[in-house]
């Protein structure tokens, strides 16, 4: 008879040590995160009463609020559109099968990672202090955010294209531009559309909070309403945000299903 596996299976004593280290790291995290039972217990009734004050929503300022939500949507669309368009160039420069020079790829990937790793609110603050308050700062923020997202996934989509047809076109004498438009772009098209739809969804969600730092859109309305204790107005705004995000999500889901069947 073969030897029975030990009861711990392929877990060794080293793995137990790693587990313990992980628990210790998380425990250390809690020391600076202000976890407090008291504050939570005292805060819960306030949460309840605040929510009660939000009901019923007030539709007094529905007109300026609707305008602001439309502006938010426009910021998201324009920013995402510009970002998607520019992403194609950055993705071509960072895809292995499109750009032969390692240094260029490294540089393009570096830019995309930089755009992605800096959070959008930081970009928003940066643009507000450079191009001024208002929706333009928000649009630029969404554009940079989309570049960080689509730049990476477009490059991956390009790299996933089958190599054999590329080789075949290359052997015929097609130049890199021809190979991109006649092969790589059409072959990765559904994937590009899918990523783009996701990025629009993401843009709509992040454009909501841009107003908090003055980069245009609905965020500022929400902040003012909360600061002025206009909770019933705040609830209207939250409701509208919910409707907008949900509508975009639903539409996206349907479009994605269509794209998948191409």
């Amino acid at each position: 008879m073969n030897e029975l596996p030990s009861r711990t299976g392929f877990l060794g004593s080293k793995d137990v040590l790693y587990g313990l280290i992980a628990i210790l790291v998380i425990a250390w995290g809690t020391t600076g995160s202000g976890l407090s039972w008291e504050e939570a217990r005292e805060g819960i009734p306030y949460m309840g009463s605040l929510v009660m004050e939000m009901i019923p929503p007030s539709f007094e300022r529905i007109e300026p609020v609707s305008k602001a939500i439309l502006e938010t949507f426009q910021i998201a669309l324009t920013g995402a559109g510009l970002g998607i368009f520019l992403s194609i160039f950055l993705a071509v420069l960072s895809a292995k099968n499109m750009t032969k020079y390692k240094s260029i790829r490294f540089f393009a990937r570096g830019i995309v990672s930089f755009f992605r790793t800096i959070p959008d609110l930081v970009w928003a603050i940066f643009f507000v202090s450079t191009v001024g308050l208002g929706p333009f700062a928000g649009t630029l923020t969404i554009m940079i955010d989309t570049l960080g997202f689509c730049g990476r996934f477009f490059a991956e989509a390009f790299e996933e294209v089958e190599q054999e047809p590329i080789n075949a076109l290359e052997a015929m004498g097609a130049n890199p531009l021809s190979i991109f438009f006649a092969n790589v772009f059409p072959a990765s098209f559904p994937s590009l559309i899918n990523t783009s739809l996701f990025s629009v969804e993401k843009a709509v969600r992040s454009s909501v909070v841009l107003g908090l730092v003055g980069a245009g859109g609905i965020g500022i309305e929400l902040k003012v309403a909360m600061d002025m204790f206009q909770y019933s107005e705040a609830s209207t705004i939250i409701l509208l945000i919910f409707v907008m995000v949900l509508a975009v999500e639903q539409l996206n889901m349907r479009l994605r299903r269509k794209v998948m069947s191409i």
Partner: protein
Amino acid sequence: MNKPDWIIEVRDLTTGYSPEVPLLKNGNLGLGAKQAHAIVGANGTGKSTLMKTMLAFVEPLGGDVLLFNESLHGKSRSKVNHLRKNIAVVWQKHNLVPRMSVLSNVIHGAFSRTNNPRVWFQGTAPEAMRKEAMDCLDRVGMGHHASRAAGRLSGGESQRVAIARALMQRPKAILADEPVASLDPKVGKEVMDLFYDLVESEGISLLYTSHNLEHAIEYSHCITALKKSGGTFEVASDQTSVKELHEIYNE
């Protein structure tokens, strides 16, 4: 050996991916005009590598390849591309751009003459080019599939479209690396019939690798067998048999 009318000539060629383990040693081969020429050999004797070396995708370790009597040795990339223009290639599979129409794929053959952006899609291509591509499709019996997506074709249909694209290059010769290896026997025979017809009726030369010895004998004028021990053996197709080829390439 040095006849002036070779389209492709391989002289004493040694090739492979590392000098320590060459796949093919001291191979010789000549592809004449209007000839169908088969290359046979056991797995690992370097059939595909020989193909790639003839097309300058793999650097020879020794010996030389001549296209239209010009040695590839030390030639610049653009000069090699220029020589290669008159030689179309049909690969084993996954040749075509899957999400484009059959007609667009065939029009891509014109990349051998121009990189005009209008060649990218059939919708933008010049009318003369669309008509020429349609004619190429008709020659391979695929005219009625022109607007289908290339990714939805069967294996045999894909190979026919790949041949149409090769014709679009207006080639002097077609090279095919195991063109029917991934097809079922009946469809494979149909595709080989089509290749052979093109040689007979249009005077295009054909050089292909195959591990099917019956095909090699039936669809060629001349066969080059790659021996296990290295070296090549050339024989006229009507003077050999499956049994003899087997013995040669196990040498």
